[in-house]
């Protein structure tokens, strides 16, 4: 397992609120290989952000708490067992994170340079000059022109796209082994989104960092990722390589996701098909499959028992009763490759 950088096993995370326990993540398992780009997709509130932030132990405790499971990082570091102090040494140096909204993710009262060098100086204990040099390098790397003057500017003097580039520079400052990008393009203009995706793609090839990219934009997935995890209501419903999930999706929720993206090559022909209903309440998740209530193919068993993952290939698996040998065969309502690949 030496080529695995991160191994998440049966992770369960809950939030304790006044109204009760919200089971945000209900048993998520996946592996991430070195240098791999993994996408986690799913609609709002499916637990993808909580999963990612739990890997970095960024969710505030309380109210959040890791109920069970393990997160094994870099071979033998058990993230769930580390003290806050030990975690501080890993955050920022071994793992970096990029957040959704670059407009609010940078401290408005601190210069860009200082925000980049801060982590460097803590983790690598280098002099101010060396840190500044590295900051200039990083700004160059993320494609910011005139880094010498940018380094002295404040976030409000930069555009949204620039700020996200700065965020990327911050996250890469200490050459982390793992980079987590939590919807890095959601808050940006479409043209800027493409630039940021291109940049991240380029950097993933250059830095050899493993990347987890969280998104609900399947275009981003197709563009960047090698493997994809589809999450629904705090669980993984399907995972596999991008080709497998896009061209041979097995879970009705994945079908729904693929049918709800617009396709430019099918002018007029394909209406967008939304998935009816809303995700279940995670205060009291249903006994059976969480998607059953919205699933057009739901059977009696779906309401009573949660399906296990059925392995289809080495990478590809889905959690659906339809994959059971006794289940009726249904016609897949989505044509292979919900969207053109590449």
């Amino acid at each position: 397992m030496s080529d695995t950088i991160l191994s998440v096993k049966d992770l369960k995370v809950s939030f304790d609120t006044y109204a009760g326990e919200v089971q945000a993540v209900r048993g998520v398992s996946f592996d991430l290989k070195k240098g791999e780009v993994l996408a986690i997709v799913g609609e709002s509130g499916c637990g993808k952000s909580v999963t990612a932030q739990t890997i970095m132990r960024l969710t505030p405790t309380p109210p959040s708490r890791i109920k069970s499971g393990s997160i094994l990082f870099d071979g033998d570091i058990e993230i769930t067992k580390l003290s806050d102090r030990q975690m501080e040494h890993i955050r920022g140096s071994e793992m970096g994170m990029i957040f959704q909204d670059p407009m609010t993710s940078l401290n408005p009262t601190m210069t860009v340079g200082k925000q980049i060098t801060e982590g460097l100086r803590k983790h690598q204990r280098i002099t101010g000059d060396a840190a500044n040099k590295r900051a200039l390098e990083l700004l160059n790397l993320v494609g910011i022109s005139n880094p010498e003057s940018r380094i002295l500017q404040y976030p409000h003097e930069l555009s949204g796209g620039m700020r996200q580039r700065v965020m990327i520079a911050i996250s890469l400052a200490c050459n982390p082994k793992l980079l987590i990008a939590d919807e890095p393009t959601t808050a940006l203009d479409v043209t800027i989104q493409a630039q940021i995706i291109d940049l991240m793609k380029k950097l993933s090839e250059q830095t050899q960092a493993s990347i987890i990219i969280i998104t609900h934009d399947l275009g981003v997935v197709a563009e960047m990722a090698q493997r994809v995890i589809v999450m629904y209501a705090g669980k993984v419903v399907e995972q596999g390589t991008v080709d497998e999930v896009f061209y041979n999706p097995q879970h009705p929720y994945t079908w729904g996701l693929l049918r709800s993206i617009p396709r430019l090559d099918e002018m007029g022909g394909g209406d967008l098909v939304p998935i009816p209903g809303t995700p279940p309440d995670l205060f009291a998740p249903p006994k059976g499959c969480a998607f059953a209530a919205r699933c057009p193919y739901a059977m009696q068993v779906c309401l009573e028992e949660d399906p296990d993952h059925t392995k289809l290939t080495a990478d590809h698996s889905a959690a659906c009763w339809l994959l059971h040998p006794d289940a009726p065969k249904v016609e897949r309502p989505v044509e292979a490759g919900g969207r053109k690949h590449g």
Partner: protein
């Protein structure tokens, strides 16, 4: 920056002129006259002499231009209630005590209030937070005219630890300073706590945590500086209010400050004194607000001043 300062200065002059004019008009419309309730009994010719003496017989516009002219030269006129004292000398006499007391109590409020608020926010929802906020509620709800006598009597008279009143040296400042600062302290603590909690929930704090910074640097470098902005905003006016004299506390502790002068001049229709003190108050307020704005710009680069003219 220079351009900005100049422009601000011009605005300040205009504001000041408006304030002077407005006070002048308002005062002339106050019921009664400066010669007291008995003025009907003053013989007509005596009153006429008095009116002429103080220039009150002239038409209003002449009184106005005369007054403005004097103010420009730094002469705020002669008090009506103390005929041989100039308003400026009354201010000169009363202001130092009020200023010292005000500075002391504001410092006290900042030095206790801000840490209290920060502490409460970091212990949000725990007993330390509730205790700190209980103190703050006490501070807001106990008026200084209750706290003042209590301090003066118990600490000053019964225990005899500190002087119960008068104004003869630094130790005389402690009790009135504390009585004056308690309310402000409470307001600052509450404001700072709310503001801290708000900032702690911001995305950039999460970014700071994601960098692996420890708690202390997150609070010190990332939270406090952003959280202190609203506090700076209200601190200016609060500071002016305390340094220009506070009637209640000054009376209780027999501090020879400005507060008493202000109130007694209103009672006795002392026109020149009221407008003199108002102008003085306005000037102090404008100066303090000017410096507040500069400090604000230093703390928050988004509103850094005079950017275009640098």
């Amino acid at each position: 920056m220079l351009k900005y300062t100049l422009r601000r200065f011009v605005y300040m002059l205009i504001t000041l002129w408006l304030i002077i004019s407005f006070t002048f008009v308002l005062m002339k419309n106050l019921p009664g006259d400066p010669f007291g309730e008995m003025s009907n009994k003053i013989p007509k010719d005596v009153k006429a002499v008095l009116m002429r003496e103080y220039g009150l017989d002239k038409p209003l516009w002449q009184q106005y231009t005369h007054y403005i002219g004097n103010v420009v030269q730094g002469d705020l006129g002669v008090s009506f209630q103390f005929p041989n004292r100039k308003v400026t000398s009354v201010i000169k006499q009363g202001f130092p005590a009020s200023l010292e007391l005000g500075i002391f109590s504001t410092c006290l409020a900042v030095l206790i209030g801000l840490p209290l608020g920060i502490f409460a926010s970091l212990k949000h929802g725990k007993w330390q937070d509730y205790t700190a906020m209980f103190i703050a509620v006490l501070g807001v709800s106990i008026p200084s005219f209750v706290l003042g006598p209590i301090l003066s009597y118990y600490v000053g008279v019964k225990l005899g630890w500190l002087p119960a009143g008068l104004w003869k040296g630094p130790q005389y400042m402690i009790l009135p300073g504390f009585a004056l600062s308690f309310g402000t302290l409470a307001i600052l603590a509450r404001l700072m706590r709310t503001s801290m909690l708000d900032v702690l929930n911001q995305d950039y704090i999460k970014t700071a945590r994601a960098k692996g910074l420890n708690k202390l640097s997150i609070v010190w470098k990332h939270t406090i500086r952003n959280a202190i902005l609203p506090v700076i905003t209200i601190l200016g006016p609060i500071f002016v209010n305390t340094i220009t004299g506070t009637l209640v506390v000054e009376k209780i502790f027999s501090v020879p400050g400005l507060g008493d002068q202000f109130v007694s001049s209103v009672y006795s229709n002392d026109y020149t004194m009221i407008s003199g003190l108002t102008i003085f108050y306005a000037v102090v307020l404008m100066i303090v607000i000017f410096f507040t704005d500069i400090i604000y710009g230093l703390v928050d680069p988004r509103i850094r001043l005079g950017k275009g003219s640098r």
